[in-house]
Subunit: 309 residues, 2 copies
């Protein structure tokens, strides 16, 4: 997805929110704001939103001198997910259609959002996801793809949501490689977060090798790119993965909540919709040149020593 | 009021909204966005919000080549106000406390907002303003000030709201000088807008001599500054006047709806509150050095040939 003009004020607001989430003082907040204004002025118009929010969050981490300002928030989200795991297990046990139910629970988990003012009740969302129609419902195509595929690549999104993904992975019944971020970025799940959610018990964990809040293939490790190229089936969770891979082909299934009105318009659904959408683009060559990172002064590159765990 | 960090993303969003309101195409919108990013990067941290939104709107006008992109919107708001004038007259005729009722109707009119997505129902707002408690209620101080004053300066805000102000002016029972903007700026009332609302029949109209969306005394005409200095009583309508004059003394009465959450926090009331607040600052020297305009490349200065009409 391209970065719409409406994304600019939102990205600037997100920088401030992230700064406050990271307990930056007013002086630090102003520095962050100024650096993000410079960044927004310089980004190529063809950038995807994750290509901009990646350096935005790097700036926040640099200015406050913390490698993972969302650590506590992520731990809380994981605990919250784990507390509801037995409830989800029961709902799944009682369901006639296990796959659709597990997919809906995984989509419900995508409500988890670390942005202040974006309050949610995970239990309510889980219930909503079991009763509300999917705005885009390619579940039968997913079922057919699962019958054909001998393994799947699962591109994760946020910490906590990982617990809901666990149930979907167990239901899928084929080996799954679960891809988490190569370094802390907002509340996106890293290896530690996936482990805390117990995903390592049901899937092989792989780092994307990048701290982009999505899957910018051009930035990812050689290993991830190979896995992406070879995977017969790809589950892409959340807005960041949609924003980075929306031109992907029918191997890819996007499972998300359209939390942002701009993204909802791009997907073609009302805001807050539950979406299970099969990719209909022509799979692009991998890696995509356009996925390169943006320069930010003083930016520290992600250490991608350990891609595969 | 100082410009809070939260104002920056909002000002950027306002620039886009104004560009669309003015029917700018995507290329023009991008130019506007880029120029506003430069502007936000360069504004002194001590700026007041109207000192920033003034050049923001100048940039919009320049890029789209229109002197008054809100002309139609303002005309519609004035018509809407005039259509409700008989209803307001009746409400006032039936009221026991004419002054408080007229002040509440004038505050209700401040709901008028040209920002897309900020929908309102003027009739509902008028009814709400007659029943809901004022979050800050200095009506008795206003009554006392009116008993002492032999004339009043009335700093207007938006077109349409002008119709509601007319009833308050008639109720005040002393000569009133009604100050409108010196040039088009968003949906703020100019001389033409005040005339269309019939305010010229109940008050003397004066141009501020500036197209700032508020009253930045340092930018205003000599005549306005003298009037401000001499006025025994000043009614300051709306957020822009609060943002520019919040340190004013007890001669000044702010009548507004706290539409913006940042301003509401500054005033100390919940968002959407109805406010009638007496100034408690120490009246500052006039003109204030800090009220100078900000440079914007290619900015056209307001022609202030005709201050007094």
């Amino acid at each position: 997805m391209r970065t719409y003009l409406d994304c600019y004020p939102c990205l600037l607001g997100q920088a401030l929110e992230a700064a406050r989430m990271a307990r930056a003082d007013e002086r630090e907040q102003r520095h962050i704001l100024e650096r993000v204004l410079d960044l927004l002025r310089d980004v190529p118009p063809s950038s995807k939103p994750p290509q901009i929010s990646q350096p935005v969050h790097r700036i926040v981490r640099e200015e406050i001198g913390s490698e993972d300002p969302y650590r506590e928030t992520k731990a809380r989200s994981t605990e919250e997910g784990l507390a509801l795991y037995p409830w989800m297990e029961r709902a799944l046990a009682e369901a006639d259609d296990k796959l659709v139910t597990a997919a809906r629970l995984s989509i419900a988990g995508n409500v988890i959002d670390a942005r202040p003012g974006r309050s949610y009740d995970l239990r309510e969302e889980l219930e909503r996801s079991l009763s509300e129609p999917l705005a885009i419902d390619d579940a039968e195509a997913l079922r057919a793809a699962l019958n054909e595929a001998d393994w799947a690549l699962f591109l994760a999104d946020n910490a906590g949501e990982t617990v809901c993904d666990r149930l979907l992975i167990e239901t899928m019944g084929i080996p799954v490689t679960y891809v988490v971020k190569g370094g802390p970025i907002a509340n996106d799940a890293t290896v530690e977060d996936a482990q805390a959610a117990g995903v390592d018990r049901v899937a092989e964990l792989m780092s994307s090798g990048s701290d982009a809040p999505g899957t910018l293939l051009g930035q990812c490790s050689e290993e991830l790119r190979r896995a992406y190229e070879e995977a017969p089936l790809i589950i892409a969770k959340g807005q960041g993965n949609y924003e980075s891979l929306d031109e992907a082909g029918p191997r890819v299934f996007f499972l998300l909540q359209a939390k942002c009105p701009v993204l909802a318009r791009d997907v073609g659904v009302p805001a807050r919709s539950l979406v299970l959408r099969q990719g209909d683009g022509s799979d692009r060559d991998c890696p995509d040149r356009n996925d390169e990172g943006l320069d930010t002064e003083g930016t520290t590159e992600v250490n991608d020593r350990e891609h595969r765990l």
